[in-house]
Symmetry: C2
Subunit: 352 residues, 2 copies
């Protein structure tokens, strides 16, 4: 509170110190061109007066906003109840704040038709409000990478497929869903399961397409049968899909799936509920496994077996890649480690 008459600026510092604005700027930014003694005087006064560079002035002269943007195009309910997003965001934020970058977050209604998220990217690019963006939920024929490239906007896809190409505008974090499908299917095979149903999220998501392909491939290899149905990532949809999968199939018959795998934790919880209503014992008659781990799975009763991934780390790596892209460096994609199966109460062997 040294100065009530407006904010302290570089000009103010220069006047008090009796030198030019340029020298003050050089001193403040660690640039050469000032003596150590001068630099020390400048820094001391700046600290004393609580000077900070105006973000807009700096952004205007440097053409950098020091901000990174994220547009989430899912419903608040989903984003709020699936801890995946917040965990990834936390990882991203940790890296960004370490580098004095800021995170700009926008949520738009998920309506697929007039994709409002595209307008946000266009606007952010036009306003030069962010230096780059991190893209969630990569879809088949996703318009965003090419659009962002056309806008000259650095970007990183979070958890893309292994064959997603890194571009001049950024590399991606990738998850090998086929490998993870192998982990899941092999575990089920080992427990004696031969008929598996995968209740997937929307198939336009590339990671779900990759999972479905992986499930089928590994089933074939292991001599199992697998049915994949596509649904949405909510508990209600998980319940509906479950009923559709087991309805009319006699438990114990050759066609009955003894294991149900779900694309996320919410669907698994909804599925559990549906199975209970149908009078099917978990894991006595059917095992349940979620492809995403979360506190929901851990605290559920019964607790839900899940494939756990380090989502904070996924965020961290994605942010690091974006910072590289913003700095103009070319990088390779960053492959994320394999998911690890968390065996819990819903997973058991098949009785002979």
């Amino acid at each position: 509170m040294t100065d009530t008459a407006g904010k302290v600026t570089i000009k103010g510092l220069a006047e008090r110190l009796g030198m030019s604005k340029a020298s003050v700027s050089y001193a403040l930014n660690g640039q050469p061109g000032v003596s150590d003694a001068t630099r020390a005087r400048v820094l001391a006064l700046a600290a004393e007066l609580g000077w900070y560079a105006s973000s807009s002035a700096r952004a205007l002269s440097q053409s950098r906003s020091d901000a990174v943007g994220i547009v989430l195009a899912r419903s608040p309910e989903e984003v709020g109840s699936e801890s995946f997003y917040m965990n990834v965001l936390a990882g991203i934020e940790a890296v960004l704040s370490d580098h004095d970058m800021n995170l700009m977050l926008r949520m738009v209604a998920p309506g697929p038709e007039p994709r409002r998220d595209l307008g946000v990217y266009r606007r952010w690019a036009g306003e030069r409000r962010v230096d780059g963006v991190i893209v969630f939920d990569h879809t088949v024929d996703d318009p965003r990478p090419s659009m962002l490239a056309a806008l000259g906007m650095p970007h990183v896809l979070v958890g893309a497929a292994v064959d997603a190409e890194p571009s001049a505008f950024g590399a991606n974090t990738t998850v090998d869903q086929g490998r993870d499908a192998g982990t899941v299917m092999e575990a089920l095979h080992r427990l004696g399961h031969r008929h598996v149903a995968y209740v997937s999220g929307p198939q336009r998501l590339t990671h779900e397409a990759a999972r479905a392909a992986g499930v089928h491939a590994h089933a074939a290899r292991l001599g199992m049968t697998a049915a994949v149905s596509h649904s949405n990532y909510t508990a209600d949809d998980g319940a509906k899909a479950t009923i559709a999968v087991v309805a009319g199939v006699v438990p114990g018959s050759a066609l009955f799936p003894t294991a149900l795998v779900y694309g996320n934790d919410l669907m698994a919880m909804g599925g559990l509920r549906a199975l209970k209503q149908l009078g099917l014992a978990v894991p006595g008659q059917v095992s349940v496994l979620s492809w995403d781990d979360s506190i929901l799975c851990q605290l559920g009763s019964p607790s839900v077996a899940a494939l756990a991934r380090n989502t904070m780390d996924l965020g961290r790596r994605s942010a690091q890649l974006l910072l590289e892209a913003v700095a103009g460096h070319h990088c390779a994609n960053a492959a994320m480690p394999a998911g690890v199966l968390q065996v819990r109460e819903t997973l058991a062997g098949v009785l002979p």
Copy 2:
């Protein structure tokens, strides 16, 4: 892609149109000073070329950043698993984007000692990076309101106590925890409960202090006894607190709490788990109620009774108040509606 040679600016528009930058600016901003015909020409060209005002240039000249900041000082785990935050954020975001404002989000480690969040506010104010902030988790003797006032930063407290004073820098959304405590205690009383334990979050949070006071007051009024213990908002802490509360107390004895109320959904889930391990039947021997509703409560097995509030709306109202404060208007606090009891499987009457 009309113009590859750099972004289109107001100067560029003016040159193509053969007029001054000022006129173009007036036309673009809906200011008087240009004819309708001129304005139409300008807007048409701007739309054609995809012009957007540079956010930094506009911020520099208007001394407004068109951004609002939020610092979350809880662990990513908590923020991720408690849907409360994301829901409030979604409500905030909906209002902000309606007003062409942006949301800047930062998460800092919750370590209480060298409160890193304060540094973020100071920096944001110094850099003029945000026009105002929305403050979560108001605490007793919270240093933030006075600090933000000293910084001249408009701010709004989310879900403050009813006696939180609105200031020249913003009003607050308030929640009458005493009234909600009445809802909870009366419902329990009606079911025959006479001994209640409230497992609260940290008592430095003003809303928890208010709840504890409300629980005690209503217990006294209704002829009940209430014990309040303070813990943290995690499932593990909920479990530990539960064990501490019921350990050594004989079920059915006069001292045994027949109803356990928890400060949030995570603690309630942890408490449920502990009760199961202790061999106590829910709701047969003890009822469980969470002061926050969430998908965890809905999907739990048994499903957990909860006091539901409209958290999206809490976010919306908070954002509206902040926009008023940023605009320099004085407002009254906005009182949020009463919580509504969601009766679920964990809540039952006491057997005589």
